[in-house]
Amino acid sequence: MSKTSISGIPATRLRSDCVVAYTPATGGALKITVRSKVLALYGEAIRQQAAATLADLEIASGHLEIDDFGALPFVLQARIEAAVKGAYPDLQAVSLPPRTDHKRVKSSRDRFRRSRLYIPGVQPKMMVNAALHGADGIILDLEDSVAPAEKLSARLIVRNALRVLDFGASERMVRINQGARGRRDLEAIIPEPVQLILAPKVESAEELRAIDQLISDISQAAGRKEPVYLMPILESALGITRAVEIAAASPSNVALAIGLEDYTADLGVQRTEEGRESFYARSVLVNAARAAGLQAIGTVYSDVDNEAGLAAAAREARSLGYDGMGAIHPRQVGIIHAGFAPDAGEVEKAQEIVRAFQAAEEQGLGVVALGSKMIDPPVVKRAQRTVDLAVAAGLLKRGWKGKAK
């Protein structure tokens, strides 16, 4: 008797999603059953897509059952593939939606990463409009937010989302799983337009180097030219202890992130609002990141309704040297950006320095001076970044230099 393989969680009836079940059979006709809340409008389209997807996967028998609650085509396609591959784990064929040509914003090593918005890999409804909320990065998560039974489905939904959806100006990030599952995640994701990989629970330089190597291999095989940046997440005592080595382990590293839920569990302490228990770890991480020329990225603030608490957490993270933090709800993004914005005094000072630098350049001077003080190049660079941050936070107009004096 053949066993039925299911993608999706029956009985959740999640809007804009579907549940697909596939029961293999040896020989016999292929049977497709569609139940859908949009049957009157898309019944025929769903049937056609199911047939085409099964053809891609070289499936000609068995019974495919779709319970649809308004899933978009890229989700249906992923869940059909996941259901079939649940039944045939060694199946090599894939069914890829055509890539949509969106204007893609290029990433760079030191772009702003003030906010990164987590979206569970099995919540396609949240992916579709994720770009609206202006987060610096969008993380399609394959790890902690995805139940074990849904890991394969999440991987394929995220793969298809990267091919189809417009993430606007947000950096496209994926958090992979650990170990063998993470390697399969990379095989599916790296050929697609992902820009940064978050590696969870990193505890050694070797671990990270192995991930980096695998990414290079997959990139090469897929003809990928764009770089893939890495953001290791340190979330254990051992990881924090080895922060310096991990930061220096790969040239692809652009940032170190800290994960405090797991870290405090590892220490065996409660995670508190004031965070004294993690002060050491947070400081170590900033130091290690800076020493390697990387950004330092803070944890998430999990109480979505406490906006004041989030604002305070963002200000504190900034004061410790952090460049950004995680968001678990779109409403947190604006508050985080405000928290990581420079204050008026800083902006004013930075503007003076940038203007002085410009004046020196125009006069062909090698040395920048502000009043009687000499300004070093790193200070100029930092001032420029402060000014850029102020522009990004809406505190300064883009053309502020033109209006000076």
Binding site: V38, L41, Y42, Q49, A71, L72, P73
Partner: protein, 518 residues
């Protein structure tokens, strides 16, 4: 049923439930003639001199009122989904062996689902009024005997006033009343705010019954309904559940996409220069409209701008604005939560209005056209900005018109709507049911951008440098279709009219067709 094409190009019947109809002529094009309808003359000698019009039960009141087969019973919907009156009324009518009644509510809600059995048994022939939820589906499936007639709140007043609908018996649920029939909605254990939707019934019906669970000695003040228009008063245990007036459509949204749309809408109102001292606005029920009011309030506080009046549906958010001095008045048509009820009772700036003052097209003007900006929902919009509010794209009738059509008279009508729901695009080639002509709809705000009606060159100019994501409606439509896998197939609808949509002037704007059972 013979169908002819009206000016809007929609096929409409010329006779509905035995009454000859005028097809839609265009917005503001139909000129009414004649005089208004009037109720029969009554004399005080036929009423108790001590003013005590009490009757022991609803059943007895129905009998004393002379309810007979084929008559029309009306009711108001101020309790929304918490109405406890009309199911017992029709149960009593069934016990009396009555048949073929017409129910003429200002709206029906899911709580009225038990009434379906009275339609199946023939006690009720059909309903004329907004059909929300299960009753709408019942009618859509072609199971109702007569044809549904959907009218706006203003159109309901117009229909009664113009003699199109004759009410034989009005049943008026009243949170507080005296034995003479004076009644108010703003106090009592079941307070629901006001009784404005029942006002026309009290004025024009042959007979009127006030039903209350809070009888006070004469006089009941304020008398939103006057006892001089009332025949009988009945006391019951509970007339309505005011906690249920906060039904689905009046709850604040938590959806990040809808909050984003609401914020974009408020930004548009500010950028277009509409938000200025002394302006007015109306935000209907619906989570996005409520969120819009909250964002606008923040912007008004920031800019130090004060409104002259806000048109309700009132909610606690509008009440807070009144109490903070951000508006001089709330001109309220119905209260959507208990804070609205309290404010109406306590705050002299919180005024109760009726469809006559606010919406009636066949009057010497109304409030709706004096509103600077109104924010409304829709189920579909086409590329000419024509919009639908009563059916979904699959053809099922699930919503009433409410004040929606009447509000289109405002200086600027904005529809903040998601560009698709689940997989179903909201911007379509042709709306399933035409409820509002595109010439009256100025702006559509979606999460993918803001589309301004090309007829509104002034709004286009005013917001040209606003930095807001303004783009053609066709572009938003194309973006959505790329995402959802193309436009949907045509749903299978039978060529059988199960309902009509009236325009505010009583002409027939469109037909609602029977869905094929699947």
């Amino acid at each position: 049923m013979k169908l002819t094409k009206n000016t809007a190009g929609r096929r409409v019947p010329d006779i509905v439930n035995g009454v000859a109809q005028t097809p839609y002529k265009g917005a503001g094009k139909f000129a009414p003639t004649g005089t208004k309808a009037a109720p029969p003359i009554r004399a005080a000698q036929d009423y108790p001199a001590d003013g005590d019009k009490r009757v022991p039960s609803i059943k007895e009141a129905l009998e004393r009122a002379g309810l007979a087969d084929g008559m029309t019973i009306s009711s108001h919907h101020h309790f929304r989904n918490g109405d406890l009156l009309m199911v017992p009324v029709f149960d009593a009518a069934a016990q009396l062996g009555l048949k073929n009644l017409r129910w003429f509510p200002s709206a029906a809600f899911p709580c009225h689902e038990p009434i379906i059995k009275h339609m199946e048994s023939g006690v009720i022939s059909h309903i004329e009024g907004s059909l929300n939820g299960p009753l709408g589906r019942f009618a859509s499936e072609g199971r109702m005997n007569g044809t549904a007639v959907l009218r706006s709140h203003g159109g309901r007043w117009q229909a009664v006033q113009d003699g199109e609908v004759h009410i034989d018996l009005a049943l008026l649920a009243a949170p507080t009343a005296d034995p003479f029939g004076n009644a108010t909605g703003d106090r009592g254990p079941s307070a629901c705010g006001l009784l404005g939707f029942g006002l026309v019934d009290s004025l024009y019906a042959d007979r009127s019954i006030v039903v209350t669970d809070d009888l006070v000695p004469f006089p009941c003040v304020p008398w939103q309904i006057m006892g001089q228009n009332i025949d009988y008063v009945v006391e019951v245990d509970q007339v309505g559940d005011p906690s249920k007036i906060v039904s689905g459509s009046t709850r604040l949204t938590r959806s990040p996409d809808r909050l984003y749309i609401a914020e974009l809408t408020a930004k548009f109102v500010r950028a277009a220069g509409i938000m200025r001292d002394g302006f007015s606005f109306q935000a209907g029920a619906g989570g996005t409209a409520l969120a819009f009011a909250i964002y606008l309030r923040e912007m008004m506080q920031e800019a130090g701008v004060k409104a002259r009046f806000i048109r309700g549906g009132s909610t606690k958010y509008l009440v807070e604005m009144l109490e903070e001095g951000l508006t001089d008045f709330i001109l309220d048509g119905q209260t959507f939560d208990l804070e609205g009820v309290r404010s109406m009772r306590e705050n002299p700036g919180h005024i109760d209005t009726s469809p006559f003052t606010s919406y009636n097209w066949h009057g010497k003007g109304n409030f709706a056209s004096m509103v600077d900006v109104v924010v409304l929902g829709a189920t579909e919009v086409d590329l000419n900005f024509n919009a639908n509010v009563v059916t979904h794209s699959d053809g099922v009738m699930l919503h009433g018109i409410g004040g929606w059509q009447n509000c289109l008279a405002s200086a600027c009508t904005i529809l903040p709507i998601p560009s698709f729901r689940d997989r179903i695009p909201i911007i379509v080639d042709e709306v399933t049911t035409l409820c509002g002509p595109g010439e009256l709809i100025d702006v559509v705000v979606t999460e993918r951008g803001i589309a301004i009606n090309p007829l509104r060159e002034d709004l286009i100019q005013a917001t040209r440098r606003s930095g807001l994501p303004i783009k053609p409606l066709a572009q938003i439509k194309a973006e959505v279709e790329a995402l959802v896998g193309g436009p949907p197939q045509k749903p299978a609808l039978a060529d059988e009219v199960i309902g009509i949509v009236k325009w505010v002037d009583g002409t027939v704007l469109d037909s609602v067709f029977k869905i094929e059972a699947n």
